[in-house]
């Protein structure tokens, strides 16, 4: 039993941090070319796939390290959808499609909708994407469809500056791949969403702690006031537990443990609350400067909000957590 990250995992996490350093979202959801290329070159998109499928034979726990870093940076770019799309493509035997995704030449958007494609769907990061990962939460099902530019009927303004939102028509969209085991895709997605949420929680903690040491009022750093220091301590508890529960869930999936579904749901639920709460109090800890657009505090809150509405929503979490 060992939840300590390996040397490789630690190196990976710091490489991710370096690629994303100083890159808070500029708005609009499009990852800058430099970051996207570096991510592909480092193998972020191939990491969790088997070597035989053109992957790097990494574990879900390895992927979680990457996504924690992406979350902490509130980075833009469809990293998660692209990773998941590559997995769906591989499973469906679409080798060239998978390669285009893992090499970073093709980006994937995502949307939550029934697979029949009848109604227009609200999709995330569709601008600049060549394929769309369509997730049906009810069945569950997942498929990849082609998104030509003409499928975009409207660009919508996005609550979260790290993604773009668009309305798509899919009635004539070509299906490229169908996930045979959508449940696996969704459960891995849930772990990686949790990892991003844990990253958000950690980034909020770090921002608050740094500011509490720096900002002075009444002749001393605000961190000297217990209202602030206790809150920072609570943030630290939440973010440390969030990081740990993500690792626990990821390793449980990697080891195919029977209790994995419950642990995935626990990670999903806990990291959601931790990220939302840490992001909220981080704004409060900064005072008015934390309320401005210029400051990154709101980006963490909006990331947490967006991710909280991603795969495995609350009712699904509850069901999994209470299952015998």
């Amino acid at each position: 039993m060992d939840l300590y990250p390996s040397q490789e995992q630690r190196d990976l996490a710091s490489a991710v941090r370096e690629v994303l350093a100083g890159r808070a979202s500029g708005g609009g959801g499009a990852a800058p070319e430099r970051v996207w290329r570096a991510a592909a070159a480092q193998g972020w998109f191939a990491l969790g796939l088997a070597g035989a499928d053109g992957g790097l034979d990494g574990t879900l726990a390895d992927e979680a390290q990457v996504f924690a870093g992406i979350g902490a940076a509130a980075a833009e770019g469809p990293f998660l959808a692209t990773v998941l799309a590559a997995r769906v493509a591989v499973a469906a035997g679409r080798r060239e499609l998978a390669e285009a995704l893992t090499s970073g030449t093709l980006r994937a958007a995502h949307a939550f909708a029934p697979l029949d494609g009848s109604d227009p769907v609200q999709a995330y990061d569709a601008r600049g994407a060549g394929v769309l990962l369509l997730i049906d939460e009810e069945r569950p099902g997942a498929r990849l469809v082609e998104v030509p530019g003409s499928a975009i009927v409207a660009d919508l303004s996005s609550m979260d500056p790290a993604v773009s939102v668009a309305r798509l028509r899919l009635d004539r969209a070509r299906v490229l791949a169908e996930a045979a085991d959508a449940g696996t895709v969704v459960s891995r997605a849930s772990v990686l969403v949790s990892a991003m949420l844990a990253g958000v929680a950690a980034a909020a903690t770090q921002a608050s702690v740094e500011y509490a040491k720096l900002r002075e009022q009444f002749g001393r750093p605000i961190g000297a006031f217990q209202a602030i220091s206790h809150r920072c301590a609570e943030m630290a508890i939440r973010s440390a537990a969030a990081a740990a529960v993500v690792d626990l869930a990821a390793v449980s999936v990697d080891e195919c443990r029977a209790d994995a579904p419950r642990r995935v749901a626990a990670a999903r639920r806990f990291t959601e609350s931790a990220a939302l709460e840490n992001a909220r109090v981080n704004i409060q800890n900064h005072g008015a400067i934390g309320f401005t657009w210029e400051h990154d505090a709101h980006r963490l809150l909006k990331r947490a909000w967006f991710l909280a509405l991603s795969v495995q929503p609350r009712d699904a979490q509850t069901a999994a957590l209470l299952a015998g």
Partner: protein
């Protein structure tokens, strides 16, 4: 104790309801720009003409000269009929005017109080500075006496509506050598004075509600001093007393209305399986919690007003603001949650367009007018007599 209105109160309430039915504007308040200012002006003037501006302000300055009880009844009727809020006049009506009533000279009262009630003066509050937020007494903007003028140099930040304002309550340091609370003065400054430069600041909801304001040798006549030179702290505390006390009452009353609307939303919207959100136990419990808190807050506000009416003072004023600010943030969070993924774009629906920005803006409630933490310090030290940290 009674909740039943007496004859006088009933007459007031019926008259208010009667007037509001006929006068509340049918069109919605424009979201921003000159249309919004014009809308607020028009509404304020209409209230003035109807005799409803400044319900609890003295008659000699154009108010109705009634008590806080009538003020509350007025707010309740306004909430009931969805009357517009004071909008750009919130500072003028909420604390600039009330401060002048208590501390201003006769000349100042006549110059400002009537025009404020008629919607002719938009006011801003220039207290906070980059280095002096919670620690207001640490402010550094200076005003030096030069003949019968004070010359202001420095900068303020987070000044709500600086770019729309005609006048400002400005807190400055006038007594070199005097430390902190001593040595401050409270000035009325026309915002079109030469030497004032205003740079709007964008907030997390994408709006520009406040600005940074620079003062480069701005000349202000000494007759614009409110209170004596060096007595600015006392005057500023009067202002903050209104800002954190009576000014919040209207919003407290409106909050119950807001919760009602959230409940309607939860009844109308359905989850993925087509069940109304309100049928979900978790959502229902959350709304019930909010409702109980809002009723308790309303009760606290009534108790506060009643105590003031009976005894002329009440310590519970300071309890209301942090309770309100935090509750209203939770109400708005709940509304945002009900939107689900529709809330991920304000273009998603009419409700998203209203709820998302209002939730994001609510983060300012627990920071502006003094942070929730500072308000807790005030309660601990001044109300409960606990030792200072």
């Amino acid at each position: 104790m009674r909740l039943e209105l007496n004859a006088r109160e009933r007459e007031f309430r019926d008259r208010a309801a009667d007037w509001l039915v006929k006068n509340v504007p049918a069109q919605a308040r424009p979201p921003s720009g000159p249309d919004l200012v014009a809308f607020d002006r028009e509404w304020q003037l209409r209230q003035y003409d109807g005799g409803w501006a400044g319900v609890s302000w003295p008659r000699e300055y154009g108010g109705a000269g009634l008590s806080l009880t009538e003020q509350i009844l007025w707010y309740e009727q306004c909430a009931l009929f969805d009357a517009p809020e004071p909008g750009v006049f919130s500072i003028a009506l909420g604390h600039a005017g009330p401060t002048l009533i208590v501390e201003g000279t006769e000349e100042q009262k006549h110059r400002h109080l009537g025009p404020i009630l008629r919607g002719e003066q938009v006011w801003a509050q220039g207290f906070s500075e980059p280095g002096a937020g919670s620690d207001l007494a640490g402010l550094r903007t200076r005003a030096q006496l030069d003949g019968d003028e004070l010359v202001v140099r420095g900068s303020k930040i987070w000044t709500t509506r600086a770019h729309l304002s005609d006048w400002q309550e400005l807190l400055v340091r006038t007594e070199p050598g005097a430390r902190r609370h001593r040595g401050l003065s409270f000035l009325i400054v026309p915002m079109d004075s030469p030497g004032i430069d205003i740079r709007p600041i964008v907030t997390m909801d994408g709006d520009t509600p406040f600005a940074e304001v620079f003062y480069d040798d701005v000349r202000v006549p000494v007759t614009n001093l409110v209170g004596r030179r060096g007595d600015g702290w006392k005057v500023a505390m009067t202002t903050l007393g209104f800002e954190r006390g009576t000014m919040t009452l209207g919003s407290v009353i409106r909050l119950r209305r807001l919760i009602e609307r959230v409940r309607v939303l939860a009844g109308e919207r359905c989850d993925r399986r087509g069940r109304p959100l309100l049928a979900d136990g978790e959502t229902a419990a959350r709304l019930a919690d909010l409702e109980s808190e809002a009723v308790a807050l309303y009760a606290l506000a009534l108790a506060f007003v009643s105590e003031v009416v009976h005894t002329g003072r009440s310590a519970s004023g300071t309890l209301i603001r942090p309770f309100f600010a935090e509750l209203s943030q939770r109400v708005k969070r709940t509304a945002a949650d009900l939107l689900g993924r529709e809330g991920l774009s304000v273009d998603g629906s009419r409700q998203a367009a209203e709820i998302v920005p209002s939730y994001l803006y609510s983060f300012g409630h627990t920071i502006g007018t003094g942070t929730s933490e500072v308000q807790r310090n005030v309660i601990a030290e001044r109300v409960l007599g606990l030792p200072r940290a």
